[in-house]
């Protein structure tokens, strides 16, 4: 039965890609953009660009107003207590790097930072490098066979030396919600700071950072149908107070002299230099668009498509799924077939999926794999996209076997 997406027409690039015979199923990498975002970007540039928080002139006031309105929208989206808890960065990666540098002073040699075995490089390497810089120990929580962070092991590994826990909400390879609630409880019991990488999680459903109870929550705009070049770092006010200033420059400074300076608190104190003004305004427009959708309908649609994806993969001989994907995506390998060959033949047939290590090399290595194919869904995908994917997959496998 055909499962249409009622929101497909809201994303003009989908039709453009289809005219180029491309079926876009790489949404965990980045997403196509709604018309509402394109309109907001065009409106901003057509009506007068200006820098924010600097000038008293009218264009500056309008840009600042729109920029700050986006901060409020992000705060609402996450149910943060205040917009001042929302820092705009240049992406999730730069938000995590900000944390790894800004929190450095909180740790002493021998302290432990805890991550998990499924972290994206963006939530692994900043902590790994911090550990190397500051003589800290990086502890890696293992996974269960289902692809969830192992809570029994976590209870052993999170201990009195744990000063920080940084984990993903939803794995970009395994497609499974991670048990954040008990993990955060374990960390908080030790007085450790908690960081949640919401890069994948934020795209599916609404998440309440106050209910989550994490100190920091990070996501990138471009995976949430927003513009690229924008990331969000939410922090509890108390936790933000622990952040040392990291990047220095324009507009983050309170008073500057040649030999000394004092800086603004969050958020402005952590937004040195001209921020991505248009991108932030565009993210606000995207959130307005997303907020106008019926969340139950979106979830039902995503679940239905994910069910079709899993059924189709499970129906095929030799296909092995990575972990137990619950939503959004599925990564797989095919027995006796090199994923690079499969990727080559899917590409030839206009199927845009991701092949390789998905920026999680240690995870793939741990699974004994050099790479895998990942199919990831967006709210504009429909069942015909999956029909085309499976036709191409069957054709590729027929040729390779």
């Amino acid at each position: 039965m055909f499962q249409p997406s009622p929101w497909r027409a809201d994303f003009p690039a989908i039709a453009a890609l289809q005219r180029q015979h491309q079926t876009y199923l790489d949404n965990a990498a980045t997403t196509q953009k709604p018309q509402a975002l394109l309109d907001a970007l065009a409106h901003y540039y057509q009506h007068g660009a200006a820098n924010v928080h600097r000038a008293q002139h009218l264009p500056g006031a309008l840009a600042t107003q729109a920029f700050e309105a986006s901060r409020e929208k992000v705060a609402q989206w996450l149910n943060a207590a205040s917009p001042s808890q929302v820092i705009f960065t240049h992406g999730a990666t730069s938000a995590l790097n900000l944390l790894a540098y800004g929190l450095e002073g909180q740790f002493q040699a021998g302290d432990e930072l805890v991550i998990s075995a499924l972290e994206h490089h963006a939530n692994l390497l900043p902590w790994q490098q911090l550990a190397l810089r500051a003589g800290l120990k990086l502890v890696v929580l293992p996974l269960t066979t289902a692809g969830l962070i192992d809570l029994e092991a976590a209870a052993q590994l999170i201990g009195p030396r744990t000063r920080l826990l940084a984990v993903s909400q939803l794995s970009n390879v395994l497609g499974a919600w991670q048990p954040l609630e008990p993990l955060l409880a374990l960390a908080k019991a030790q007085g450790a700071l908690t960081v949640v990488d919401g890069a994948q999680g934020v795209v599916h459903g609404r998440h309440d950072v106050r209910q989550l109870g994490c100190d920091f929550y990070v996501f990138s705009s471009h995976k949430l149908y927003g513009p690229d070049g924008v990331g969000v770092l939410y922090g509890r006010s108390e936790a933000l107070g622990k952040l040392a200033h990291w990047q220095f420059g324009g507009e983050m400074v309170h008073v500057a002299d040649y030999h000394s300076a004092s800086f603004h608190p969050a958020p402005l104190g952590f937004e040195a230099g001209t921020p991505p003004v248009a991108g932030v305004i565009g993210l606000g427009a995207t959130l307005d668009y997303l907020a106008s959708l019926d969340p139950a309908a979106v979830t039902a649609h995503e679940n239905a498509l994910h069910g079709l994806l899993l059924r189709g993969l499970n129906d095929r001989d030799g296909v092995r799924l990575l972990g137990t994907p619950q939503l959004a995506l599925a990564s797989f390998v095919v027995e006796g077939v090199h994923n690079a060959d499969l990727a080559h033949l899917l590409t030839e047939q206009g199927i845009a999926v991701r092949a390789g290590h998905h920026c999680a090399m240690p995870l793939l290595k741990g699974l004994g794999l050099a790479g895998a194919i990942r199919v990831s869904l967006g709210l504009y995908n429909d069942s015909d996209d999956l029909v085309r994917f499976f036709e191409a997959l069957d054709k590729a496998l027929e040729m390779l076997r």
Binding site: A340, D341, A355, A370, G371, M399, L400
Partner: protein
């Protein structure tokens, strides 16, 4: 520079190929023709970095002529390697430096395999080949 017998044969075959499917099947056939490497030859020093699959490239010179051997654990890149090797077989160092290898793959209708976002490794192989040729020639 004239094409070797094998290169001319490859060009004929790929020029006649209609569509992606035939080209892909041809690639796999050409990959089969690549002589296997011994386990000793599949050593880390011969591994080309930057490939999605494992690709080994071995260069040697005899009587001023280059000899390359290559292989991979993936089939499509094996075909691309075979097409690369037929084009460079028997070339002198100065000829190898002068040759337009991206142009060769374009002629074969495989230019897209060289786009920067492709992770198949053909670009990395060409770069490594140029390095090897540069070292010995310089």
């Amino acid at each position: 520079m004239s094409l070797s017998l094998h290169a001319a044969e490859a060009l004929r075959a790929f020029e006649q190929a209609a569509g992606w499917e035939q080209r892909a099947r041809l690639l796999m056939q050409w990959g089969e023709r690549l002589p296997p490497l011994s386990d000793a030859e599949k050593s880390p020093e011969h591994l080309v970095h930057g490939c999605e699959s494992q690709v080994w490239l071995i260069a040697s010179q005899a009587d001023g002529q280059w000899q390359f051997r290559a292989n991979s654990d993936a089939r499509m890149i094996r075909g691309l390697l075979a097409l690369l090797l037929v084009r460079v077989e028997g070339l002198r160092a100065d000829e190898l430096k002068a040759i337009d290898l991206p142009g060769w793959f374009n002629q074969l209708g495989l230019g897209r395999q060289l786009s920067p976002s492709r992770s198949n490794g053909l670009n990395a192989v060409l770069k490594r080949m140029a390095e090897l040729a540069g070292q010995a020639g310089g």
